[in-house]
């Protein structure tokens, strides 16, 4: 990828900035060759990768280096785009929202600083991957369980900071962050929570500040660079039990949600419950052409045939219960009784007990795997996907409404419908996977137009997204429109006060600093 300069900088100024960065991190960790830029591009980009080009990347190896890099960035006005491991596939990977921003790659800072097995938490640096933490916990026999996303190739920190979703009782990852160390936009350093007191023993235990609390202010945010973070971990349960069933029809998702949500709210089911549609299973069975070799969406008769051949329902329900065997048994009976009220389909039981091997293909086991990335092979060619991810109340009325609305639109665009609902509490994260071949320009155009329309119709119906790809950060921010987008305006007042040069991740979630506000795509879509 050719060099794209940060806005308002000349080649000479940029070179001087790179030299200054090299003095701090070492020349080898200033990554600004054409090849380096390509390795930080969005490999799932809907459209040409150079739509979101980095000018390069800087990889500091310590907190002090991060602070110095931020100070230099202020001096030279080189905007930085912070990532921990930058594996945000489907949402832009490591690529920056603002063309020419330098990726601040924190992947080298990869120490698990601390694990407390008694109170169940860890303190991690940004570059710690889910695999790193898992192996660390295994090697020390910590008896603690992680919450992992479907794609666990990324970082524990980046995932949690981007409001990532896992499938254990600790599945709302951002909720389990406790106590952070953050480099401020001026290069200063602060700690949040009890850790704001030097040497405080409760730094990663008590979830609030003395005064207003800031932990969540640094998630999905451009207000600081997090350099370490406490994260609560669940004690490894004595047993777990997977109760699963396939439900045959599209509309069954209604009663499934109405059955599961009360159990979740009561605490009978503790996990974030993942309910995927059939394609979620089938994408791992091969490539699309193995099942349907024509362009356009698979006809319903063929879908029915595939379901029958593979003994699948339209939705798969998998509920995992965790804890002592007697408790799990009792909970299982409650869950089964609740399902009995709506269906005769039996729930299959699959027990796991401590010491037994764990199935890595099921993220509700808290074991990292990157196998979900196989869906990248589904469409063929350089296939990729986007997630359209609205949040809906966890009741049949809202879930069915959302499912019908997005399904109709997705099918109007002649694409296969693939959705999941994850019940995280009183709400569901609804992820609609839109898959495309990156080299099929028409297909990409179609997916982008569909995405625009999905945002609009979903907003009109009263719902918004929890997370989105770079291309739609501004349009989605605009849908949060109460009182003339008061929330975004408020964040931008804070942004300008803390970061007058606008150097930290300009444009993240549609929050633009004054210095680059003209780059906001407000009022226009892709």
């Amino acid at each position: 990828m050719k060099r794209v300069l940060p806005p308002n900088l000349t080649d000479r100024e940029f070179d001087l900035a790179l030299k200054a960065f090299a003095k701090v991190v070492g020349e080898d960790w200033v990554l600004a060759s054409d090849q380096d830029r390509s390795t930080y591009a969005d490999i799932y980009a809907p459209g040409p990768e150079d739509q979101w080009p980095p000018s390069g990347a800087i990889a500091p190896g310590s907190v002090a280096e991060v602070q110095e890099v931020v100070r230099i960035a202020n001096r030279f006005k080189t905007p930085l785009w912070t990532v921990s491991r930058g594996k945000n596939l489907g949402y832009g990977a490591a690529a920056p929202r603002l063309p020419g921003a330098l990726v601040l790659d924190l992947g080298r800072m990869n120490k698990v600083q601390h694990v407390d097995t008694e109170l169940g938490y860890c303190v991690v640096e940004p570059g710690v991957s889910f695999f790193d933490l898992y192996e660390h916990l295994e090697r020390m026999n910590a008896n603690l369980m992680m919450s992992v996303p479907g794609n666990a190739w990324g970082s524990v920190m980046g995932n949690a900071l981007d409001h990532g979703v896992g499938y254990t009782p600790y599945g709302l990852n951002a909720r389990h962050i406790c106590g952070m160390e953050v480099v401020m936009p001026d290069g200063g350093l602060m700690r949040t929570g009890m850790g704001a007191m030097e040497g405080n023993h409760s730094a990663h235990l008590f979830p609030f500040n003395y005064g207003p609390s800031w932990d969540q202010m640094f998630s999905q945010s451009n207000l600081g660079v997090v350099t370490s973070m406490g994260l609560w971990l669940m004690p490894q349960p004595e047993t777990s039990l997977l109760l699963s069933m396939s439900v045959p029809n599209e509309e069954d998702i209604g009663w499934v949600i109405d059955t599961l949500t009360p159990l979740k709210i009561q605490g009978v089911i503790e996990q974030s419950i993942f309910v995927p549609s059939w394609l979620g299973k089938v994408v791992l069975m091969g490539t699309r052409k193995d099942f349907w070799d024509k362009p356009g969406r698979m006809p319903d008769w063929r879908v029915q045939e595939i379901l029958k051949q593979n003994k699948l329902g339209f939705w798969t329900v998998g509920v995992r219960l965790y804890g002592d065997e007697a408790v799990v048994r009792a909970k299982a009976d409650v869950v089964k009784r609740a399902f009995k009220r709506s269906t005769d389909i039996p729930m299959e039981e699959s027990w796991w007990r401590q010491g037994e091997p764990v199935d890595v293909m099921d993220p509700s086991n808290g074991v990292p795997s990157a196998v979900a990335l196989q869906m990248g092979d589904w469409v063929g060619g350089r296939s990729a996907h986007l997630g359209f991810s609205p949040v809906v109340p966890a009741t049949s009325k809202h879930v069915l409404g959302q499912m019908r609305r997005s399904k109709k639109l997705i099918e109007d665009y002649d694409l296969d419908f693939y959705a999941s609902f994850t019940i995280g509490g009183r709400f569901c994260n609804n992820i609609n996977m839109l898959m495309y071949d990156r080299d099929d320009a028409d297909g990409v155009r179609k997916v982008k137009a569909l995405f625009d329309e999905l945002i609009d119709v979903t907003r009109k119906a009263g719902y918004g997204e929890y997370r989105t790809h770079l291309n739609w950060m501004d349009p989605v921010a605009e849908t949060f429109d109460f009182n003339d987008n008061a929330m975004t305006r408020y964040t931008e007042v804070i942004k300008d006060a803390l970061d007058p040069n606008g150097i930290l991740s300009p444009g993240k979630m549609g929050v633009w600093p004054a210095a680059y506000r003209e780059h906001a795509q407000r009022g226009k879509h892709s």
Binding site: L31, D105, Y134, E135, K281, D377
Partner: protein, 137 residues
């Protein structure tokens, strides 16, 4: 290693599909379990002293050990070429050369993303490529 690689094939649902298409009975389901990677060798990653084998395990292992996504995808590709399933494991391949390995790592290939120099340094990649290429350039 060979035994494990066969299990990889057996466990992945999509591999079952391959069997189904060939008309053979699907093999029994076995559980894909976690494969520990070797630890990242200590010391300066810009001039690593780690072996190619341990570096491969640590840097590429999330996808290319048994049960990894890269192994699964490559197993299907190798089967389609009439090769045995264990050829899905890069460590079993004899046809790789160091230059090819380096090119795929930096440029990506189909589902494999490009890896940056923080993920794998040039020094680490040299040793990994040499290990997978079995000394071939």
């Amino acid at each position: 290693m060979k035994r494990l690689s066969v299990i990889v094939l057996v466990v992945t649902a999509f591999a079952q599909n391959v069997f189904a298409e060939e008309g053979a009975a699907p093999p029994p389901m076995m559980m894909p379990t976690y494969q520990m990677r070797a630890p990242l060798p200590e010391g300066d990653r810009l001039e690593t002293t780690g072996s190619g084998e341990e570096l491969f395990s640590n840097r590429c292992g999330s996808c290319h050990l048994p049960f990894g996504m890269g192994t699964n995808v490559l197993t299907v590709q190798r089967l389609a070429l009439g090769e045995p399933p264990e050829m899905g494991l890069l460590t079993n391949r004899e046809d790789l050369g160091a230059a090819y390995v380096k090119a795929v790592v930096r440029n990506g290939k189909v589902g494999m993303p490009r890896l940056n120099r923080v993920e794998v340094t040039d020094s680490e990649l040299e040793r990994i490529a040499d290990f997978l290429g079995r000394g071939k350039p």
